[in-house]
């Protein structure tokens, strides 16, 4: 259900991609007899992608430079599926060698032995100190922020999750993602738990806090596209939504605004599927894609914030200000403590599912 856990999966873009792929395949079939095959067999690496804008940006700014440099071809497989990663480690059949995981998933994957140990040859000199985590390499980040309709709140919308919960000060309908790991910390913040005391989560307190806002939640969003449409069409007055989706709406001159304040940052990590026969190539690939200059271009194109601070040297300030990891934005937001949250998540998710259905 919730495979769409990261932003950027525009239907248009994926359709365009599919068309492009058909054209490429068709033309290569037609041209096949005239192509001289190189004597050396080319190596291929299979990368799991989110499709859409994500894949377009990755293909142009991450995959192409890597192939040019090493001669290793990249083939993509989508969508991203944690279940598939688990199945691969179990069966030894590899559909992809490399994938990206969010914070909650990487702890789970590492605990369950679904990913390879970080390769000893990985050069960390150009990385941030905290960039290697749980056998993954942090790449980019997105943020769940508070956005609102300006026609509903002309004097400014909710500036914190406590405001978002305050139905007297900001009357109207609400919407949040149907995803326990992201929603529960917000409920605690709204109940005035300080940022640094969120984990381990007090689940009873979080659900009690959610009870207060539940009558005003018209719908729980599950897909990035859906959250965007809900805000664009004014179905809801205020929403917890990904920053990239909101910025897109603002760039389309929609009547919406948002705050970085108390935004909830999610990290994406590159990992290698456990037991992959192409693990060596995979680590070379990861080394290449977190290089500051390439990461910078990818983040600009796909609306993310780089997790290698050196990448900002390659980003114009106007662009950087729209990124969750830009220092001024970063310091008013918070990060999830995924290592502490992970042991709670299975129970929290089950409880959340039941609570929503009640």
């Amino acid at each position: 259900m919730n495979t769409d856990k990261q932003p950027q999966s525009a239907v248009d873009a994926s359709r365009r991609n599919a068309l492009k792929r058909i054209v490429t395949v068709a033309s290569s079939v037609i041209a096949a007899p005239y192509v001289i095959t190189p004597a050396r067999a080319t190596e291929t690496l299979y990368v799991n992608t989110w499709g859409g804008i994500w894949e377009e940006a990755a293909a142009a700014h991450l995959f192409a430079p890597f192939t040019k440099e090493t001669g290793i071809q990249i083939k993509t497989v989508s969508p991203v599926s944690f279940a598939k990663l688990a199945a691969q480690a179990k069966t030894g059949n590899y559909e992809f060698d490399v994938t990206t995981l969010g914070g909650g998933d990487i702890v789970r994957a590492n605990d369950a032995g679904l990913i390879e140990k970080v390769d000893a040859t990985l050069d960390r000199t150009k990385m941030a100190p905290d960039q290697v985590f749980q056998n993954g390499v942090a790449s980019h980040a997105f943020s769940t922020i508070i956005a609102w309709r300006k026609d509903k709140y002309p004097n400014g919308g909710p500036q914190s999750w406590a405001d978002f919960w305050d139905l007297k000060k900001f009357p109207g309908s609400r919407c949040l993602q149907s995803y326990a790991a992201r929603v529960l910390p917000l409920a605690l913040l709204a109940d005035s738990v300080p940022k640094n005391k969120l984990y381990p989560m007090d689940l009873d307190r979080a659900f009690a806090s959610l009870d207060r806002i539940k009558p005003n939640i018209r719908v729980w969003w599950t897909q990035g596209q859906q959250s965007q449409q809900l805000l664009r069409d004014g179905e809801v007055d205020a929403i917890g939504i990904w920053h990239s989706r909101t910025i897109e709406l603002i760039q389309q001159k929609q009547n919406v605004d948002f705050t970085w304040n108390q935004g909830e940052i999610d990290r994406a990590y590159w990992v290698v599927s456990k037991g992959s026969p192409r693990a060596k190539l995979a680590w070379r690939f990861i080394q290449s894609v977190v290089q500051p200059d390439r990461l910078a271009k990818f983040c600009i194109a796909a609306n993310y914030g780089p997790l290698n601070p050196k990448a900002f040297e390659y980003i114009k300030e106007a662009d950087a200000r729209l990124m969750p990891t830009f220092p001024a934005n970063y310091k008013v937001q918070f990060e999830q403590d995924v290592a502490k949250a992970e042991p709670q998540l299975a129970d929290a998710t089950k409880r959340f599912e039941r609570w929503v259905g009640r």
Partner: protein, 291 residues
Amino acid sequence: MGAISASTPAQAPIAASRWARRWLPWMLLAPVLVYLAVFYLVPLAIVIVSSVTDPSPSLSHYRDFFTDSFYLRVLSRTFATSLIVTICCLVLAYPLAYAMARREDTLVVAMLTVVALTFWTSFLVRTYAWMVILGNRGPITALFRMVGWDPPPEILFTRFSSTLAMVHILLPFMVMALYSVMKKIDPALLRAAQNLGASPGRTFRHVYFPLSAPGVVNGCTMVFILCLGFYVTPVLLGSPREQMLAGLIGSQIEELLDFGEASAMAVVLLLVTLGLVALYNRFVGIDTLWG
């Protein structure tokens, strides 16, 4: 017997042809049987096995399912929703298919095209289209405002909106199932009934409807079973309280990695569906209707 006839040379070709007659149908069926075994029976067996072995051999997943009022409520809601959608589809599709089957002109082609057209649009796109139509800035809400009903009633994110969209998505299946059967009903039978003094209502009740019944059963079974597997549409359009079992199965796998519980749920859904079909067969008889 084959061995005896093969002993005389003159009869050998007959034996060969008998052998062929016996095995040829199976050889022709072989590709589809292999296909079904590989892509249907084997995965199904894996699901059944993992429902009692993942992570350790026990029936605990089934016990968990049947002792949890939440799961049971979702299961019953799934069936209730599917039943409502099936009935709505039948009521809407029957007159349409009837009209299509009784005509011979180009209008039929036009109607068939319109029905088939919805097949060509991705159901996700159709679901989003309903969000726009029923939404705050959609034509329905505008109509309510025009007649002075302001603020207009909330249509989106209710049970009504999700049912409406599912009926829209599944309607073509029902129309096609009914149309293919109705097209084969001999109009002479209806004329004969009327000649013998039956009123139009009586002709329909005693002649037309029984003859169209196989289509009704086919269509209802298909729509009902397809509907059981829906979850994206209810999640996007329905009320947050309205979950379908397929959605829960999905989240068991994607969010909780609990393949065992998910398999058990899938098996329960399958068994209950088969149970319903068996019940129907017992009291109504599927074979007689399909025949």
